[in-house]
């Protein structure tokens, strides 16, 4: 069992994504549900693509009929142990085939990580909707693939251990909301959008030019399809200027559900690493302790404890 120490006295620390630019409709706007569903579906699609690519890369090094995904999410210890052993065998074979050390990136690791980030976002978008369970299953499946083959580790920084498990972070039912002030300028004339004559419902002819290296039609960098000097019909949009972040709050109902905690201080704190090479491995997805699909993860409990790699 892991050794435990008392909780840090200066409060729990976490890192989180607090702001993302995009046209997400506010809470209670009718278009919001459709937007969230579309975003969630897109994330699921990207996850499937990345997962397929990761498995393809794995298949070039290790041959296996099927990966040991536990779709029944059994809590039986014997079943869990056998599954864990199968993952260990596959992981060892991959390391042996690629002669990779612990510090090297293994084949497919980057794309598998992306495959896990996408369903985490999808689950956040699709929560409380009809596709929630599909996204939830995907999070657990890819989490197990990543943890089983590549291994997940706790992070140690600022003299503290942090849990960075995307499976658990996605299931924390709190999100981040930022409040900020900014001037709103019209993308067509550059004047204050609340006063200028341009309506967001109309198209206006605008001559394309580069403003501070950006295209004034699409906001893109060099290489966009708009030729300087040519006229295009554009719908006015709002440009933010002099933005000042005023507050960030944790809320159960953030405007953008994908703005979530990305790492959370382990509580209670295990002892600090005994050597620079010490790593704490997270086995939650393999041990079933990161929750079954449909279950809310309440705490960042330790899984099987410390593993000295």
């Amino acid at each position: 069992m892991p050794r435990r120490t008392s909780q840090a006295s200066d409060g729990m620390q976490f890192t989180a994504m607090v702001l993302k630019w995009g046209p997400i409709p506010p809470v209670h706007e009718p278009a919001r549900t459709q937007f969230l569903t579309q975003s969630g579906r897109r994330e699921l699609q990207l996850s499937n693509q990345n997962a397929a690519e990761a498995v393809y890369r794995l298949s070039q090094y290790i041959r296996t009929d099927r990966l040991p995904f536990a779709m029944d999410f059994s809590q039986d210890w014997n079943v869990l142990w056998k599954r864990y052993q199968r993952w260990q065998v596959l992981s060892s074979r991959l390391r042996a085939a690629t002669e990779a050390s612990d510090k090297d990136d293994l084949p497919g690791q980057g794309v598998a990580r992306k495959a896990l980030e996408h369903p985490a976002g999808a689950y956040r978008y699709l929560r409380k909707g009809p596709l929630e369970r599909i996204a939830d299953l995907q999070v657990h499946r890819i989490g197990e693939l990543f943890g089983g083959i590549y291994g997940c580790r706790y992070e140690y920084k600022n003299d503290r251990w942090f849990d960075t498990c995307l499976v658990r972070m996605a299931h924390l039912h709190m999100g981040l909301s930022a409040g900020f002030t900014a001037k709103r300028l019209c993308s067509v004339c550059g004047a204050d959008f609340s006063e200028c004559d341009h309506s967001p419902d109309w198209l206006y002819p605008v001559t394309a030019e580069r403003v501070r290296g950006k295209c004034n039609i699409c906001g893109g960098d060099e290489g966009c399809e708009h030729s300087p000097g040519s006229q295009y019909l554009v719908r006015p949009t709002i440009r933010l200027e002099d933005a000042v972040l005023r507050e960030v709050s944790l809320t159960p109902n953030p405007r953008d559900p994908s703005l979530m905690i990305t790492s959370l201080q382990s509580d209670p704190q295990p002892p600090p690493p005994s050597s620079p090479s010490y790593k704490r491995r997270c086995l939650a997805c393999l041990s079933g302790t990161c929750g079954k699909p449909g279950q809310e993860v309440i705490s960042n409990t330790d899984a099987l404890g410390d593993v000295h790699l």
Binding site: H28, T181, D192, E195
Partner: protein, 134 residues
């Protein structure tokens, strides 16, 4: 009619971001409306999680014509209906800082409630009287 900021900090008036097009919309509906301060002295706040999801504060200096009152009522009603959710109606808040109506002056009036609670109708009643046919 004057659109009032939510706060003034160091000379800068802070408006809710939902008001970016409010003045344009109301002018298009025939209401003479202006912001309290010039564009250089105003900024807009975006809060992505807030109990009050729609809030408007106005000051009305003179008698309100029937057309203007009805246009304002229609605007507030459209905003409230756009937010309406029968299962979980968001809260809206309407503040009238000052209203001169015939010999009566109303100051510091706040209407607050769920979007489905008839706030637009209450606004019309205040502006033009109870017996008006909306």
């Amino acid at each position: 009619m004057v659109l009032l900021p939510r706060a003034v900090e160091e000379g800068t008036a802070i408006y809710q971001d939902t008001h970016i097009t409010t003045a344009k919309d109301l002018r298009a509906a025939g209401i003479q409306v202006s912001f309290l301060v010039e564009p250089d002295d105003r900024t807009f706040v975006s809060e992505f999680s807030h109990d009050i999801v729609y809030q408007i504060a106005i000051g009305i200096a003179a008698n309100v014509s029937w057309d203007a009152a009805k246009a304002l009522w229609a605007y507030v009603k459209a905003r409230c209906e756009g937010l309406a959710d029968k299962n979980d109606p968001p809260r809206v808040r309407l503040q009238i800082a000052r209203l001169q109506k015939d010999d009566v002056t109303i100051e510091g009036l706040t209407l607050e409630g769920p979007a489905t609670s008839g706030i637009p109708e209450a606004l019309l009643e205040i502006l033009v009287g109870k017996d008006s046919d909306a």
